[in-house]
Every structure is written in structure tokens, then in C-alpha cells.
């Protein structure tokens, strides 16, 4: 067993690298899209600082539609768009396109939820101190919900590990691709198990690091 793994060391390392690249890249870009969208979902809602119910409803629809398309179908449906953006439809870089489109609505909802945890009294207090709306967003909403946002970030990254493995089976590379090629087509079960082990370790590591950071910076903890 160990020999098979060792003989595939290069392939596995490259696969792990590709997975990390896809997860990191798509996490970053899905927040670039999802974070502003989540803030907008919150601030345009009822009683929000930019209350605009028609816009809020429209955004809510877009997000819900985005979230209800199964990811595997999204990858296929987006192939022309992916070509347009990434110049190709295959490989880790191309996979980031559907990963981002799939994850951004999810991120928007997570961000919205984190912001909803902020005490509305604190927002009113900031208003009374003469805060502008931008100051309320940046310094009150995002500042006060930072630990919760970091916990959401860890959920997103872990979800994207799963999505990236799925993308791997349709040509994106990475650990999912290795599991299919070696574990399924060549009956090398040990390679399949090993990639699973790597993915589990990766998930645990992210969970631990982000969870630790979130607890560390959360000043609501008394110590």
C-alpha cells in the first residue's frame, strides 16, 4: 500500500497543490462577490440603513436561485462563460469560475446571517454619534461580526473543498480527479482512501485554524 502511495508521490502532491489553489482562489473571489452582496442583503432589508425592499427582494431571488442549482450542473452550464473568463474550460484555474459562481450566493447568506447577529441598538447608538452609513457598515457591522464572519469563512472553505473535488471529476485536476482516475478507473482503492484521508485532514486543519482564530479574537469571551 505504502509503495503505491510513494510511487504516486508526485501526482498526489500536485493534486493537493491544485486543490489548495482552487480552494484558496475560489474562497477569495467568492468573498469579493459575496461579502458586498451579503452586506447589501442586510442593509436593504426592512429597517436597514439603506432600506429598499424591491432591491432587497430582487437580490434575495438571485441568491436563492444561485443556491438552488446543483453544483455539478452549474459547472456544465457555465462552460461557455468559463471559456470567456478563463480562456479555457479545463484545469484548476478554469474551475475557479464555477466554484465562485456557486459559492458567492452561499457566502452572501452567511455574511447576512453574521450581520443579523449584531445588536441593532449598537447601530442606533452609532447613528446617534453621527456615523455615516459607510462608517456603520465598516466599523460597526463588519467590526462587531468579525468572529462570526471568520466562522463563516471556514464553512465556505470547507464547502469549497467538497465542490473542488466534484469539479476535479470533470477535468479540474486536484485530489478529486486523482480519486476518480486511480481509485475508480484503475481499482487502486488505497489511492482513493489516501485522497480521502488528505481531504479529511485538510477539513480538520481549516476547521481548527479558523475556529481557533475566531474564538481568540472574540472579545465577548470574558477571559
Amino acid at each position: 500500500m505504502l509503495e503505491t502511495i510513494l510511487s504516486l508521490k508526485g501526482v498526489l502532491l500536485e493534486g493537493l497543490g491544485a486543490t489548495l489553489y482552487m480552494v484558496a482562489g475560489s474562497t477569495i473571489f467568492s468573498y469579493l462577490l459575496g461579502l458586498p452582496l451579503g452586506v447589501l442583503l442586510y442593509t436593504t432589508g426592512k429597517g436597514g440603513i439603506h432600506e429598499n425592499l424591491p432591491l432587497n427582494r430582487a437580490l434575495g431571488w438571485i441568491v436563492n436561485i444561485g443556491r438552488s442549482i446543483p453544483f455539478i450542473i452549474l459547472i456544465i452550464a457555465l462552460i461557455p462563460f468559463t471559456r470567456l473568463v478563463a480562456g479555457k474550460a479545463i484545469g484548476p484555474t478554469a474551475a475557479i469560475v464555477p466554484l465562485v459562481i456557486g459559492a458567492a450566493p452561499f457566502v452572501a447568506r452567511l455574511v447576512e446571517q453574521s450581520l443579523q447577529e449584531v445588536d441593532t441598538g449598537v447601530i442606533e447608538a452609532a447613528k446617534c454619534m453621527g456615523a455615516t452609513r459607510l462608517q456603520i457598515i465598516l466599523q460597526v457591522l463588519l467590526g462587531e461580526s468579525l468572529p462570526s464572519l471568520i466562522r463563516g469563512l471556514s464553512i465556505t472553505a470547507i464547502t469549497l473543498i467538497g465542490y473542488s473535488a466534484m469539479a476535479g471529476t470533470v477535468g479540474a485536476g486536484g485530489l478529486g480527479d486523482i480519486a476518480i482516475r486511480y481509485g475508480y478507473y484503475r481499482y487502486q482503492t488505497e489511492v482513493m482512501l489516501f485522497t480521502i484521508l488528505l481531504l479529511v485532514l485538510l477539513v480538520c486543519l481549516i476547521q481548527f485554524l479558523f475556529g481557533f482564530t475566531a474564538n481568540r479574537i472574540d472579545k465577548r469571551n470574558r477571559s
Binding site: 454619534m129 456615523a131 467590526g143 469571551n221
Partner: protein
Amino acid sequence: MIQIENLTKIFHSAAGEVTALREVSFSIEDGDVFGIIGMSGAGKSTLLRCLSMLEQPTSGRILLDGVDLASLRGKQLLAARRRMGVVFQGYHLLMQKSVRENVAFPLRLAGVRRAEREARVDELLELVGLADKANAYPAQLSGGQRQRVAIARALATNPQVLLCDEPTSALDPLTTRQVLELLRELNQRLGVTIVVITHEIAVVREICNKVAVIDAAQFAEGGRTDEIFAKPASSITRLLLGVEGGRKHA
């Protein structure tokens, strides 16, 4: 000077209309420690929310030094807000920021430079007796200490008026006495006008030179505390004072 003229506030909710304030008029003079007292649901918090521009009056006006608050927009609105400090019943401190950062917050919003900000924060924390807690976080403080942080924060921009909603209702008798003492001292040392909303007659008796009694959304009576308490004209005041002859209140 704050003039409240025929202030009416009606809330429209699914359950129907609620008139929280009906044709309320009185004025608060500079340097006053002004008590607004009434039973639960009388409309006191609504009045404070109108004064702090969190709610728009349905009709009537609130004038701050002759300027109608409802007419303010943009920069003038922000400036007017900085002239009124608000201490909320639930404190509403930033939980992720230290005591120092909380007190510095209104100054940061106003674009005050760091060095000046720090000096002012030290001064304020000294004033409210919390210099040793500068680097603590709100979660690590007692209720009375949080109240002091909220007061220091509300004073940061040197407001001319300090609006306090039930500043002592969550505190024990000793801490209540200390917070009231602090408010009186702030009034005397800084000359800041203080408006205290409360349902406790003892708070008014302790620190307020003037009082307005609000009953069921309406102004019942008002004037100098000693006079009102010596000769209460309305039955609600007698009831609050616990004097014989006060009408039964549901």
C-alpha cells in the same frame, strides 16, 4: 435650549395605530438636569428617540437652539447629532472593542486625530472613574461600569445635551447613587444639560431641578421639581409620589 412643540408620534403596526405621544409641549433649558417621568408605556422612550432623531415626529416640532431637528440633512444632521450625547438603557457598547476604543469611537467617526483622541479618552475615563479599565472589554465589566463607559462615550464629542434613558433601572441602590452623583457632577463641572428618563421618583428627587410628567402619551404637568413634588396637580404625579388621592392606575 430644547423646545418640544405639540409633539405627536403615531406608530402604525399590523395590530393598528398606537399613539405613543399626543401633543406634548415643554422646554428644557440649558444647564438643566431635566427629569422625564411616567409609567411604563407612557411614551418616555419614544420621546427620547424623537429627541435623538431616531424617530421622525408624526407632527409637531423639536427645536434645538431654535433649529427644527426635522429640517436637518447631511452634514448639519451629523453635526447636530454630535451636539447631543445619548446613553441608552442597554448601554449598546461595541462588544468587540475595548473600553478605550469605545470611548474613542465617536471621535474617530468625527475624524479627530489620534493623539488628540487619546488625550481626550484619558481625560474622559478619568472623569467617570474608569482609568484603570481602559484596556478591558465590555464583557469583562459590571453593569455600573458599562454605564460609565456609555456615559464617557456620549460625552466624547463635548455635547451640549446628554440624553439618558433609564440610566439606573438596571443598577443596585449603591451603584444607582454613584451614577446619579456622576451625572450631577458632570452637569456642574461641564455645564452639560442632562435629560434623564426614568420611572423612579427617587431619581428625579435626587438630581433633577426640573421635571415633566408624562401619562398615557400626554404631558400631565411639569416645572420645578420642588414645586411639583410639594403640590402635585395631576393624579398621576400623586400616584407616582405615593400620595393619598392618586387615582388608581391599571
